[in-house]
């Protein structure tokens, strides 16, 4: 239990990062506890959550609704202050990571600005927060739209795009400036299964191309297994780490990997863990 409700801001971050076994840790959560106080009651959303995400790896967070998985992502993104514990991102605090623009965030409902065209939405991160212009090698907004398969849709307004296309725009927006850490909050949760499958495959390809660290929250067992190198299973009430499962699926996998014995065994294991959670 993280009873010490000390500020997380100034813990010796470097010391924690070196504790990684293999590869440098991009994200380290050490005893993260979040409590929400309301008039009626105090809810412990996360209770002493600790884990690490190695640089360049893909971790999915799986858990039932209300287990605090979105809260966890929000703590990493510096949108929620933890009541206890500390988050370290690339050796600094979440606030520093945010100010250095090392974070990309994809929301569940795309959160595009309806008055901006697709390309203008992707350009938004370059216009605010005093961000320096793109370096020569970095992908431009129009290149990113091409990467997510929306070439030719640059001047379409969000209401002219389907749900899946809107989410593609939002992924392109999160990738502007090549952030080292990409945080995704159930980005495909509102999409139909066919679109979701398709985007899962593409996200995997984008990740393999860009090699950014991804922390991906979902409540779909299949999505978590298919995408993650590791799946972190959260238990609810209060949210705590139930288990971290390494998937070890082939790197160039397509959707048909879901028919393999390994995949079926993994999903069975995860289902069991969720049931016990």
């Amino acid at each position: 239990m993280a009873m010490a409700a000390t500020s997380n801001a100034d813990l010796p971050a470097a010391g924690r990062a070196t504790a990684t076994t293999n590869g440098r840790a991009a994200i380290t959560c050490a005893g993260v506890t979040v409590r929400f106080v309301t008039d009626r009651r105090t809810v412990t959303a996360l209770d002493s959550v600790s884990f690490e995400v190695a640089e360049g790896s893909f971790l999915t967070v799986l858990g039932p609704s209300g287990c605090g998985k979105s809260t966890l992502l929000r703590v990493v993104a510096d949108l929620v202050m933890p009541s206890g514990g500390a988050v370290t991102i690339l050796g600094g605090t979440p606030k520093q990571a945010r100010q250095r623009r090392t974070l990309g965030f994809v929301f569940q409902d795309a959160a595009l600005l309806p008055w901006r065209t697709a390309i203008a939405n992707v350009e938004l991160p370059l216009e605010v927060g005093g961000r320096p212009p793109l370096a020569p090698g970095e992908p431009t907004p129009s290149e990113l739209l091409t990467l997510v398969g929306l070439k030719g849709w640059e001047n379409a307004y969000p209401h002219e795009l389907s749900g899946g296309m809107r989410q593609r725009v939002s992924i392109a927006r999160a990738l502007v400036g090549t952030p080292q850490v990409l945080l995704m909050d159930e980005p495909f949760g509102a999409l139909d299964e066919i679109t979701r499958d398709h985007l899962n495959e593409e996200l995997l390809k984008i990740w393999q191309k860009m090699r950014t660290t991804i922390l991906f929250v979902t409540h779909s067992i299949y999505e978590a297994t298919f995408l993650g190198q590791q799946v972190l299973v959260l238990a609810a009430n209060p949210g705590r780490v139930r288990e971290i499962v390494t998937t070890d699926l082939p790197a160039g996998r397509g959707l048909d990997v879901r028919e393999t014995e390994r995949f079926v065994r993994l999903t069975a294991q995860l289902r069991q863990l969720l049931r016990a959670a």
């Binding site: 945010r98 929301f107 409902d109 600005l113 008055w115 938004l124 991160p125 216009e127 605010v128 307004y157």
Partner: protein, 274 residues
């Protein structure tokens, strides 16, 4: 052998032609029916006036009104000019004030908590009661009428503008925070754009209420303007002139409203949520 009649398939072209024919008919109907309605009401009006032999000092016939519109065109236009100036000036002033104060309220919650109740209180005073107060304050020129028009525009715009600036998608705000955007950037990149659909629905209301405000202002000791002409025509039992004046006043309101609607279509090019 079945005895079910199988429809011959005429192909895609026939289906498309049928679809277009239905659409054309509906479009035509949508354009014609409003005129049918107007003509119907005019006919009923004429029928009642002639049938019941209503004396001209109680209600005029449509022809008498049309006659007056042509005959007294100069008089009507001469009186429309001050009313139009007052309404437009009041509209600009009232809305500008409302937008400014909404911006202050959004940036300073304490100001909103302190002064929003005052604004609500002032708004509960009916226009006809506010008018004499402002005439006493500003004298007998155009100023009190402009002030009244401004005052009636002010409230709906303030309320809508505060809502538009504040009811921003929370995820958009979170996104701006992740991007380390300043408050200024959040205001100009998010809040202002978000408020535009709200602002225009308020402006469309204000366009007609501004005209009402100016006319009510002219009821009190004014010698020119649509409002003054209404009073004069009533006292002289000149019902044809009264009706003609009302028609001129409301035509101006409609034009004002249409102008704002067109501006809205130019500015708000995206579909507003909901």
């Amino acid at each position: 052998m079945t005895d079910v009649a199988i429809m011959p398939d005429d192909g895609v072209a026939a289906d498309e032609a049928a679809y277009r024919a239905i659409r054309r008919r509906l479009q035509w109907r949508r354009r014609v029916m409003p005129f049918v309605g107007v003509v119907g009401v005019l006919a009923a009006w004429a029928g009642l006036v002639y049938g019941l032999e209503v004396p001209p000092f109680i209600a005029p016939s449509p022809q008498a009104v049309a006659h007056t519109l042509v005959l007294k065109y100069d008089l009507l236009m001469r009186n429309l000019t001050p009313t139009a100036i007052e309404a437009v000036a009041g509209f600009l002033l009232g809305n500008l004030a409302a937008i400014t104060i909404a911006t202050v309220f959004v940036h300073n919650k304490m100001m909103e908590e302190a002064f929003f109740p005052v604004v609500v209180l002032v708004n509960t005073i009916p226009v006809v009661a506010k008018a004499p107060i402002l005439v006493l304050l500003f004298g007998n020129g155009m100023e009190p009428k402009i002030a009244i028009a401004a005052l009636v525009c002010f409230f709906p715009t303030l309320v809508n503008m505060v809502r538009g600036l504040e009811s921003v998608n929370p995820q958009a705000i979170e996104l701006m925070r992740i991007l380390s955007a300043s408050k200024r950037e959040v205001f100009f990149k998010i809040r202002v754009h978000n408020s535009l659909p709200y602002l225009f629905s308020a402006l469309k209301i204000a366009a007609s209420t501004a005209v009402i405000g100016a006319i009510v202002g002219e009821w009190i000791g004014s010698t020119e303007g649509i409002g003054a002409l209404i009073i004069q025509a009533t006292y002289n039992f000149d019902s044809a002139l009264l009706y003609a004046t009302v028609i001129v006043g409301s035509s101006f309101s409609v034009l004002f409203f249409l102008a704002i609607s067109m501006a809205e279509r130019l500015v708000v090019r995206w579909h507003a949520p909901e």
